[in-house]
């Protein structure tokens, strides 16, 4: 397997894993509140629809669109997506944005779904339309970005099968691990994964945009790991710089004994 193929499979795998963690939070919360059968069925239909999308859009893309055009358009899409993931991960790592807490999102979703009117699970333990729809929508919406990544990376490198297999492996692996650890999803270092994916997507985006316009990289495919290393270094520098922009903590105001007694009364 070439360097590009390995990097491509890794990028698709990590991106799918990140989105899968987010989808799994919704599915687990739905299963716990509205019944597991509907949650699992909704998720399965969602994953099936995403797979059909990859096949329906990806195969014609690979066969009928000229490769140079495909690489420029797809490289641009990857750049937009990669830069926005990278920006978000840098803002979270530097303390400017709060990190995503899957545990908190799980608790919020459970509370929201419990409050919604629905059937009595003890009397009808089989199906729940709301549970099905929530799980289906969660998987479909979180999976759309994965579909775009699979299509773009797979089509531009003419390795749609490999990209789809890497995504499927992530879905199976994270799905199984998620079921085992259930409510411990907050333990997964999601921001680290997001930054890694952002760096890889940006690297592939730059690589394909240049190749598509006729600017060939020295070393051909070997340029991809060099770009990844370069963007890793840039991201580290930007995180450090953004941390230095944080406001210093104001010193605590000394409280006199009289003031403290006044507060006590």
């Amino acid at each position: 397997m070439s360097t590009t193929a390995v990097a491509l499979a890794l990028a698709v795998f990590l991106a799918s894993a990140v989105e899968m963690v987010e989808a799994l939070t919704i599915v687990l919360a739905t299963g716990a509140t509205r019944g597991w059968r509907s949650a699992i069925e909704g998720s399965a239909v969602g994953v099936g629809l995403l797979a059909v999308l990859v096949a329906a859009v990806g195969v014609p893309l690979v066969h009928y669109v000229p490769i140079a055009t495909l690489r420029v358009v797809i490289g641009a899409l990857l750049l937009v997506l990669g830069l926005s993931w990278l920006r978000k991960a840098i803002l979270r790592a530097s303390g400017h944005h709060a990190a995503r807490d899957e545990g908190e999102i799980y608790a919020e979703t459970v509370a929201r779904l419990r409050d919604l009117p629905g059937r009595d699970l003890s009397r009808h333990p089989r199906r729940d339309a709301l549970g099905f729809v929530v799980a289906f929508k969660g998987v479909l919406l979180e999976g759309m970005e994965v579909v775009l990544i699979v299509l773009s990376l797979g089509a531009s490198a003419h390795r749609l099968g490999l990209a789809a297999a890497a995504a499927a492996a992530a879905v199976i692996l994270v799905g199984s691990a998620g079921v085992l650890v259930a409510r411990q999803l907050s333990a997964i270092p999601e921001n680290v994964l997001k930054m890694a994916v952002g760096i890889m997507l940006t690297s592939f985006g730059v690589f394909w945009v240049a190749e598509g316009t006729g600017l060939h990289w020295p070393g051909n495919d070997l340029a991809v790991p060099v770009l990844v290393a370069g963007f890793f270094a840039v991201s580290g520098i930007v995180v450090g710089w953004m941390r230095s922009l944080l406001r210093p903590v104001p010193p605590p105001v000394p409280v006199t004994l009289a003031e403290r007694e006044g507060v006590g009364r």
Binding site: L79, S84, V206, T213
Partner: protein, 83 residues
């Protein structure tokens, strides 16, 4: 039927708008400029690749700076990093 088609079209458009532009229009504009620069400099490999790389870094830094939280303090970072 027509209402459903309209809703689908609006949903499809909204998805692409959020995906491509959303809260970071500067990254969309930056990407267009990067593609444009690559096309313009495609006959000069060294200049073309340098310009593309520089523009990517400039837009990443500018967009991240724009998204900073001016009220965030250093305690947030310290607390997150504590074991």
């Amino acid at each position: 039927m027509r209402d459903r088609a309209r809703r689908l079209a609006v949903g499809f458009g909204r998805f692409w708008w959020d995906f491509l532009i959303g809260e970071t229009p500067e990254l969309f504009v930056g990407t267009l400029l990067i593609v444009g620069a690559a096309f313009l400099l495609r006959h000069d490999r060294a200049a073309g690749l340098t310009a593309v790389m520089l523009l990517v870094v400039v837009f990443l830094v500018a967009s991240t700076y724009r998204g900073r939280d001016k009220s965030a303090t250093r305690t947030t970072v310290g607390r997150d990093r504590d074991p």
